[in-house]
């Protein structure tokens, strides 16, 4: 088990290197130049060229890539061209907000998706089945920026129940505050995260609910479910203990993949809801062609995604005794 985890962690290294090369290549291909963005439209070609020399942008690509790698091996992601701050510092400052949003959205997606899926499967063909599948269809089809704006319009503008934009106190700190007698801090944090998390979760919730439904329907027809009924167990117990646990197996790997999608979706969601996370930063970095920052963010996302998948694989082995990690 420990050997397995160690091996998986070691595999992160080639993955990260590949990721850096691919991102670097993509950034070479897109038009635009940080030096001209930085100096503005009025700048003279000479000034731009000087700045490019200072930033090392006039070196051949293999030298730039080599230099980047050298720094990376020393744990240095370089400096942001625009913010004149270490990339790693900028990312660390923003990462918490994004992870918080993605985790809360994932919890929403699982709660909504699994509940709807199980109910739909156990009442196949009923009205509630139809309604939840219509919801799933909507959830899959609605892009996050559209749904986000609708939610904002309804709950923040029309009803005025929830704040439209921004983030409250980080949830961990807010929880600590609530424990020391300041529950309103936590409530405020919840109020802020509710809309962006819902908007972000909708798509995943829809996908998970459809998957859970299909998986449950399949498992409910299995022989061991019949055996469970033959033992005289109550229907509820058969569904939860026997069917659901088995139905969860294929869903689990998809939930891991959804986390990646949530990180990606966070880019749009954070922009709409002015959520101060990495996603918002990504948009800024790309529009400014802040190359080291983009590299750093992509690398961070890739490593988080890989780690989440490792956790999913470990969970898989915990839920299904037939799986041996090795």
């Amino acid at each position: 088990m420990i050997a397995y985890i160690a091996r998986r962690l070691l595999l992160l290294i080639p993955m990260a290197l590949g990721m850096v090369v691919v991102t670097f290549g993509l950034l070479l291909l897109i038009p635009g130049d940080p030096a001209s963005v930085l100096l503005g439209q009025e700048a003279s070609p000479d000034a731009i060229n000087n700045l490019r020399n200072t930033l090392g942008l006039n070196d051949p690509w293999y030298i730039r890539l080599g230099v980047y790698f050298m720094h990376l091996l020393q744990g240095d992601m370089g400096r942001s061209i625009f913010q004149n701050q270490a990339v790693s510092e900028i990312i660390v400052g923003r990462l918490g907000a994004t992870i918080e949003l993605a985790i809360v959205a994932l919890i929403f997606a699982c709660l909504i998706g699994i509940t709807l899926g199980v109910i739909a499967a156990t009442r196949q063909g009923s009205l509630i089945d139809t309604i939840s599948m219509v919801f799933a269809q909507l959830g899959v089809s609605m892009p996050v920026y559209w749904l986000g704006l609708l939610l904002m319009l309804l709950f923040a503008v029309t009803l005025g129940w929830l704040p439209a934009i921004g983030r409250g106190t980080p949830l961990l700190q807010a929880t600590a505050a609530a424990l020391t007698g300041q529950p309103h801090v936590l409530l405020d944090s919840f109020a802020h995260i509710l809309l962006p998390a819902l908007a972000l979760a909708a798509n995943s919730a829809a996908i998970i609910s459809r998957l859970v439904r299909a998986s449950m329907l399949e498992v409910l027809r299995e022989d061991f479910v019949r055996t469970a009924y033959a033992k005289g167990l109550r229907r509820q117990r058969v569904i939860i203990r026997h069917a659901f646990r088995n139905a969860l197996l294929p869903v689990l790997s998809v939930i891991g993949l959804r986390f990646g999608a949530l990180l990606g979706g966070a880019v749009l969601t954070e922009t709409i809801f002015a959520w101060p996370g990495l996603g918002q930063l990504t948009i800024t970095a790309i529009s400014q062609r802040d190359l080291p920052l983009i590299q750093g963010i992509v690398l961070t996302f890739a490593i988080i995604f890989a780690l989440v998948n490792l956790v999913v694989d470990l969970l898989y082995a915990a839920v299904d005794p037939r799986i041996r990690l090795g």
Binding site: F224, R226, Y229, K231, R234
Partner: protein
């Protein structure tokens, strides 16, 4: 003596796209405590449907159209959900055909057995687990304590079937239904498992309904035998009478298809087969379902279905041929 299980005039139908058609028709039998009744027939003759209906476990596409199933005199079909669930696993239990798929892959053997005990005996977790280990011991599972903590995939086929039997016996049911309990097993293990079931059945005084297509199994275990064809009984008698003096041509055909030891040396013969195939259940004629394959069929057999009647004391059959016998 009151029979442990009395089935009368049971009709099961499948709800197809073009309406319902019968899969089991006019099924009646009763089993006393300690007795074994075998239901024999080819695949698709309705024997498994009969078994499942005894536990009200029919798939959604099927249902009991009419009839009665009495367990110790109580009408099982009329019970509400709660009471039926209380009976299942406690008064009447089932051993399924394929233990690998019939056991839950993500729960240990011990968990699966003790679950039944906890449901019916109000036992605590530890107490129920101890009972599960006892049951595994009863079915001669080697190292029961350890096996109880293992998952189905960690056991061999024979051991899995032993676990399945232990599961069925966990609450000491008075009636046990075994649906082809040895079909999925190696031949060498088959005899052991059959011996085990018979032995436990005698010791615990259970009534047993054994579903099989194997006449060898019938000869070894049955007291009485019901032969089914196309959803109906065609013959019923004691096991000795069946092998000595089969009346229905279908039974005779089945016997002919079984090789006998020493026979080849004395007078070599080809194993007999029954020409034709089992008719589709949604397409049955008004006459005897076996008539198209019967060597002695007369025109009457195609026109009128023969009633299931007592031809000799204790020996029933549905055939026009033996009416005068």
């Amino acid at each position: 003596m009151e029979p442990a299980l009395a089935v009368s005039n049971l009709n099961v139908e499948i709800l197809g796209e073009n309406g319902a058609f019968p899969v089991v028709s006019e099924m009646s039998f009763s089993v006393n405590p300690g007795q074994t009744i075998c239901i024999v027939g080819e695949s698709g003759c309705g024997k498994s449907m009969t078994a499942l209906s005894l536990l009200r476990l029919l798939p959604e596409s099927a249902r009991v159209a009419s009839g009665s199933i009495k367990i110790h005199g109580e009408e099982f079909l009329a019970m509400d959900q709660r009471k039926m669930e209380d009976f299942r696993g406690d008064k009447i239990a089932m051993i399924f055909q394929e233990p690998l798929t019939a056991l839950n892959p993500v729960l240990t053997i011990g968990e699966q057995i003790s679950e039944s005990v906890r449901q019916h005996r109000n036992a605590g977790k530890r107490e129920a687990f101890a009972r599960a280990v006892k049951c595994l011991e009863l079915v001669q599972m080697p190292d029961p304590e350890r096996r109880a903590r293992q998952y189905p995939h960690e056991l061999s086929g024979g051991m899995r079937q032993r676990a399945m039997i232990a599961l069925a016996l966990a609450c000491e049911p008075k009636i046990i239904i075994a649906d082809e309990p040895t079909t999925a097993l190696d031949v060498t293990v088959q005899a052991q498992i059959l011996g085990l079931i018979s032995d436990l059945q005698k010791r615990l005084g259970m009534a047993q309904i054994l579903i099989t297509h194997d006449l060898g199994v019938v000869a070894e275990t049955a007291d009485r035998v019901i032969v089914m064809y196309a959803g109906r009984r065609v013959e019923e008698c004691s096991v000795y009478e069946l092998f000595d003096n089969p009346l229905h041509p279908y039974t005779v055909g089945l016997m002919g298809a079984v090789p006998h030891r020493g026979e080849a040396a004395a007078s070599p013969r080809r194993l007999a087969d029954i020409p034709g195939t089992v008719p589709a259940l949604w397409d049955l004629s008004k006459g005897c379902a076996f008539a198209p394959r019967c060597p002695g069929a007369s025109s009457r057999c195609f026109e009128e279905r023969p009633p299931f009647t007592e031809k000799k004391p204790g020996h029933f059959a549905a055939c026009w041929e033996h009416d005068h016998a």
